[in-house]
């Protein structure tokens, strides 16, 4: 009855052998393809560096004006703009400006990447049941797999720094983008689509002029979630050498510097609130506009 008491597990030597074979295969893979994969990501690295250089080397008043301008254009709300101003000034005053700019730059690039990759996948998912059946479980894995499990292979492949950090963040942050795009398009009223068909629009015209505009508020909610999740990964990303607000947080954890940790943690929160309010307000404005049209 021993199989009843103890789980009949795989033979230990075989299990060890299996792990070794997989480890070895991965190492061979890194050796032979690492260089090529690194080359593939080189443009991304340039983009990251460029964006970071822009954020850290532009004089601060200009950056503040740009951020406030975006906030105003998106939300048309004085309250949001004032809130953003206060948060930015506080971050700068407490000496976290450079780190915050690095973090914002990283989040910006991650969000752009998530949209560029996530939107087409979401559209394809909305168009095909089979695609949805395949992609959904993959998204589940991406959201629940502990990040260090895939961080270490990524580091072995690409080294430490911004690109592996970006990959880790995008893996974690992209699922809401894909899911919400899929959902938004699926929620578009069938009657509207029928009308579009009746006017003889092609598939592309239907997607561009009917489905995407109507799904936009839902997609905006997806982008909002993506930004929030990307910010949540800032600290994890700095464990593989990404510069920004995560590094002082790690330092605070390692040395029990209470205040340093709180300050930088609050800076992350401040950035998150700015991004969240602005993108939410934009989403709401889109919705209002649509309601008027429908009315």
């Amino acid at each position: 009855m021993s199989w009843f008491q103890d789980f009949p597990q795989m033979d230990e030597d075989a299990l060890r052998g299996l792990k070794q074979v997989i480890d070895e295969a991965f190492r061979t893979f890194t050796r032979s393809y690492g260089e090529g994969i690194e080359g593939f990501f080189a443009p991304l690295q340039k983009f990251l560096l460029l964006s970071e250089r822009f954020m850290t080397q532009t004089p601060w008043p200009i950056i503040v004006l740009i951020i406030l301008g975006i906030a105003w254009a998106a939300s048309r709300s004085i309250k949001v703009v004032l809130g953003a101003l206060v948060a930015l000034l506080a971050i700068g005053y407490f000496g976290m400006w450079d780190d915050s700019m690095r973090t914002i730059s990283m989040i910006f690039v991650c969000t752009v990447m998530s949209i560029v990759i996530g939107l087409p996948i979401g559209i394809m998912m909305a168009g095909s049941e089979r695609m949805q059946r395949v992609v959904n479980p993959v998204l589940d894995v991406m959201q629940t797999m502990p990040s260090f499990v895939y961080l270490i292979p990524v580091v072995m492949l690409l080294g430490i720094g911004r690109v592996p950090g970006l990959i880790a963040v995008v893996i974690y942050a992209i699922p809401p983008m894909i899911r919400m795009t899929n959902l938004g398009i699926r929620l578009v009223d069938r009657d509207v689509l029928e009308a579009a068909d009746a006017f003889g629009s092609s598939r592309w015209q239907k997607l561009r002029n009917v489905q995407l505009p109507l799904a936009l508020p839902t997609i905006m909610a997806g982008i909002n979630q993506t930004i929030m999740m990307a910010l949540a990964m800032v600290v994890i990303a700095s464990m593989i050498g990404v510069q920004g607000l995560g590094q002082p947080v790690l330092k605070a954890i390692a040395n029990q510097y209470f205040t340093l940790g709180i300050f930088n943690g609050l800076a992350i929160v401040g950035i998150a609130i700015i991004f969240d309010r602005v993108s939410q307000a934009y989403g709401q404005r889109l919705q209002k506009h649509l309601e008027v049209v429908h009315g």
């Binding site: 080294g159 790690l250 040395n255 029990q256």
Partner: protein, 349 residues
């Protein structure tokens, strides 16, 4: 603190955290319970402390096997961390043996206990001590024989390219919170690495630090930064420790080299840490030949690193590692024991 790797790092005094204090209490109770165990043949019951990192685990398992099979002791292993173990040894007389104790991780009370004679330093556990310093891959030194010291390496940022900014070199100091990272960052200042074209890289975590080294090594690219041994990584990847090129100056070291914010560090040799086997007075008095074994045995660092690498490659436990070591390296351990004892050990394998 240790990310499951083979780290026994003298990561500074900050390592004495609450966790260690809390683990002390149950350990002491557990051990008080242990004391009146029946005496076995020659040397009686021996408890050996195994620490929560790979090299200490390996040493403890080898000692257990040798004492049990070679000297007829009733040897058992208890798990613990440096501070609670050493405190318990001084106060309760148990465990009897702490195979691997780093000087820089030793609390003042233990130093005092050693002076009082409650605890005894039996031997140097690692022949070369615990070594920390600035390491580069061996192939770099072979291809560039002019690189002999840290100052020589600083002249060649192009050999250690920063993946983020290939026109510059990368000086990998380690993660925040390690004592070694502070010293490596002070070296960066002391050797004027910035002016030479190096970036100071914060590798973020133990995994990130190892990852950056492995990544560079597998591509046959240079890497320069803080590392320590004996570790499995040094067993797997051949690295060379670069000397500072100047003698060790203790006063200067304490004044500036290990002080984080000190603005003007000077080049200074990184001292190695003595790693000892510590036993209780009562064990030394009663154990006779078993104590003599602990007093003679001293591991060559390279062998420890190689065994740790084997353990990591095979995802093996300390016990597997001990058996593998005793089987494969009789040339190392046969000098630690009498031929008669060696025969007994061989018979038990």
């Amino acid at each position: 603190m240790n990310t499951g790797k083979t780290i026994c790092p003298p990561f500074g005094v900050k390592g004495f955290n609450i966790k260690r204090v809390f683990t002390a209490a149950p350990l002491m109770f557990g051990l008080a319970y242990f004391a009146p165990v029946a005496q076995a043949a020659d040397c009686g019951a021996v408890t050996i402390a195994s620490m929560n990192w790979a090299s200490a685990e390996l040493l403890a398992e080898v000692d257990k096997f040798v004492l049990q099979n070679g000297y007829g002791c009733d040897a058992s292993i208890v798990l613990g961390d440096t501070v609670p173990t050493l405190t318990s040894m001084a106060e309760k007389g148990k465990p009897d043996v702490a195979p691997e104790s780093w000087t820089s991780l030793r609390p003042p009370i233990t130093v005092q206990n050693i002076q009082e004679g409650k605890l005894m330093i039996a031997s140097k556990a690692f022949a070369d001590g615990g070594v920390q310093g600035i390491y580069v891959p061996k192939f770099i030194v072979e291809q560039n024989p002019e690189i002999k010291t840290i100052a020589d390496a600083i002249k060649h940022p192009e050999l250690f390219p920063d993946p983020e900014e290939p026109s510059k070199g990368a000086w990998s100091a380690g993660q925040q919170g390690w004592g070694g990272t502070i010293i490596a960052s002070q070296y960066y200042k002391a050797f004027k690495a910035k002016d030479a074209g190096f970036n100071l890289v914060d590798t973020g975590s133990a995994a990130g630090h190892d990852g950056s080294l492995i990544h560079a090594y597998e591509r046959k690219k240079g890497w320069i930064g803080y590392y320590w041994g004996p570790t499995s990584l040094l067993g797997k990847y051949e690295m060379v420790r670069l000397p500072a090129g100047v003698p060790y100056d203790e006063a200067e070291w304490n004044r500036c080299n290990k002080v984080e914010k000190c603005p003007d560090p000077k080049p200074n040799e990184w001292p190695s840490d003595e790693v000892n086997t510590i036993v209780t007075k009562s064990f030394a008095d009663r154990a006779g030949p078993a104590y003599k074994y602990l007093a003679t045995r001293s591991w060559p660092n390279a062998v420890v690193s190689r065994m740790l690498a084997w353990m990591a490659d095979n995802q093996a436990t300390g016990e597997d590692g001990a058996k593998q070591f005793l089987k494969k390296h009789p040339e190392v351990w046969s000098s630690w024991v009498d031929p008669a004892v060696a025969e007994k050990i061989n018979a038990a394998l």
